[in-house]
Amino acid sequence: MTRRGWIVPLAALALIALVPGLRAVALGFLDGAFGGRNLFNLWSTLSRASILLGMAIAVLVAFRAGLINLGGEGQLVLGALAAALVGIYAPLPGWAVASAALLAATVAGGLWGMLALWLDRGLRVPLLVGSLLLNYPAVQFASWLASHPLRDVASGSAQTHRIDGAARLPRFDGTILDYGIFLTVAVALLAILADRYTVFGYRLRMQGLAPDFARAQGMPTRRLGYQALFLSGAIAGLTGFTAVFGFAQRYVDGMLTQPLYAWTGIVAVLLAGMVPWRVPVAALIFAVLATGAGGMERVAGIPRESAQIVIALAILWLAGSGRSPMPGRGR
């Protein structure tokens, strides 16, 4: 942020501190995001942040390579679905089930990502639109599986059976936060470091900044593109794995789409200006905004959609201030 960039948030803080009504709202917000008995809400926030972080990193990998992958939702859902399938049906010991499910999730998400790029390269359906459209069949397929062949009939819901207890990702005692956060944080760290310190990261970045340049320098741009989309989809799939083996312990129809995780991931990356180390911060901020807005609503009756409005205005404000977060798309 520039120096001017701090003025708006600071002014907002001052306003909140001075007006009693606003202060109550702010306290409700803070409690909703961080408070609660045994800091329960903080753990909830982290649990949400973990999934958002995974999705944001998935988006980052593709965007860094200049590939506008809006298909995170489908990749996330297919990853989750693959994980659930393995989790329910693989007759293996717990740790092996979890590992196989993780592998299946990353492959499923990654292949779906590559499909979007193949549509672009092979059939000229622009990636932006193709990846977006691929979300719908993926989500509906998952919905069908969860509603029919894989349904846990007794539960009365459109959801699969539960993952066997031994294979689940453990939870931190007394919280809903599971060990999946180790996975997403590790992936984020790897992605941030690889961006700077590996040849692969360098090539992806050059391709994103200047595709003609990368080609003219003899970088394997075709392969790089597919690798980037595979990685992007695989990270989304991995995030789906953590949701199924951690948070929900099964695949529940709509559990990954209704909260708009994929879109929030994109927005987090845009707001972070595509600077890798800022992305985890942005993901955390969005998790705080979401859980905090829920608390604000419970305490002060302010609709939690106000958080969404604030986010949208922030995006528009950033876009209008000429700091285009999209590489090579700025003025």
Binding site: G36, R37, S44, R48, R151, S157, A248, P259, G294
Partner: protein, 314 residues
């Protein structure tokens, strides 16, 4: 007020009468016990989890949740808050239920069967139909029992079902209306609308196409004058009140089932004559149908007629 009751809805309450009854029930119970009432609306799986947790965290004495969406959540959350009592309405955790969870469930198929009978008797075309939200076992309690009821009184009756589906199956009047229009075009002249928030769309279709409707949960008749025959009544509000009474009386981990016999399920045509006359429903002017329905209801209550539970069948 030293006690607080919380109500966490699975979806935005909006105009969903079922969820509205939950709110009415918690407020009535709170009044009766001089307690505070807090209503929290959820919209996603994650927010359901957060809201239930927040309610327990806030020190709720009783947390009431409505709908099957909460099973997993309560199974995880309830053990963390032993001082809070949880009540799931419309759903239960059958195995290894934690001590502080009680359930109140309904036999919706009994009332749906009666609606099928009403439709079977009223249909001139011998064609009836159901529009329901989404193809899940729970909703087959409505769709299957309705078809069974229609055939019970008029064996030649054809019955068809359509699902609303879409991104928002429990609150999508647009799609509900399209399905109803299609069913009407196919010749159905009585349509059972079990779409929760989509019912309004079915009523619009009925007004345009001239078919009649049977409804669920509450009396919708005034909303579509001259088009609604009859409706089931699901006394969610009363059941919440009764269940809270039992919890406060010290009962733990109980499962209460409500059907026609217990008065938790009902139908407008089963109301006392005076109330029925006031209801605005078409069935009030069809005494011969009312008589048959009441007869069937009596058989169900005394056990001489059993309505198969589609959820148990699977």
């Amino acid at each position: 007020q030293d006690r607080t009751f919380y109500y966490v809805s699975p979806d935005p309450i909006g105009l969903n009468p079922f969820l509205q009854m939950g709110e009415a029930g918690i407020r009535a119970a709170a009044d009766a016990h001089d307690a505070g009432a807090v209503v929290i609306e959820s919209d996603t799986p994650q927010s359901r989890l957060e809201n239930v947790s927040a309610a327990a965290n806030d020190g709720a004495d009783i947390v009431v949740v409505l709908g099957f969406e909460f099973s997993d959540i309560l199974r995880d959350i309830a053990p963390l808050y032993p001082d809070t009592q949880f009540l799931i309405v419309d759903q239960c955790i059958w195995d290894d239920r934690p001590d502080n969870i009680s359930c109140a469930v309904f036999r919706e198929h009994e009332s749906a069967f009666l609606m099928g009978a009403v439709a079977g008797l009223a249909s001139q075309a011998d064609k009836v139909a159901v529009v329901s939200a989404i193809d899940i076992p729970f909703l087959h309690r409505y769709t299957d029992a309705f078809a069974a009821g229609a055939r019970h009184v008029a064996p030649d009756t054809q019955s068809e079902v359509r699902w609303v589906g879409g991104q928002n199956p429990f609150a999508d009047p647009v799609r509900a209306k399209e399905q109803a229009l299609a069913l009407a075009a196919g010749g159905a002249d009585v349509i059972f609308s079990a779409t929760a928030g989509g019912d309004f769309g079915v009523f619009e279709a009925a007004q345009e196409q001239g078919f009649t409707v049977t409804t669920v949960d509450v009396n919708h008749c005034p909303a579509a004058p001259g088009r609604i025959l009859d409706g089931t009544l699901k006394r969610v509000d009363e059941v919440i009140g009764t269940s809270i009474d039992r919890i406060l009386a010290g009962e733990r981990s109980f499962v209460a089932t409500y059907g026609l016999a217990e008065g938790g399920m009902g139908a407008i045509s089963l109301l006392p004559d005076a109330e029925l006359a006031e209801s605005g429903c078409l069935v009030a002017d069809r005494p011969e149908i009312v008589a048959q329905v009441r007869d069937l209801a009596a058989q169900i209550v005394d056990g001489s007629l059993t309505v198969a539970d589609p959820m148990a069948a699977d």
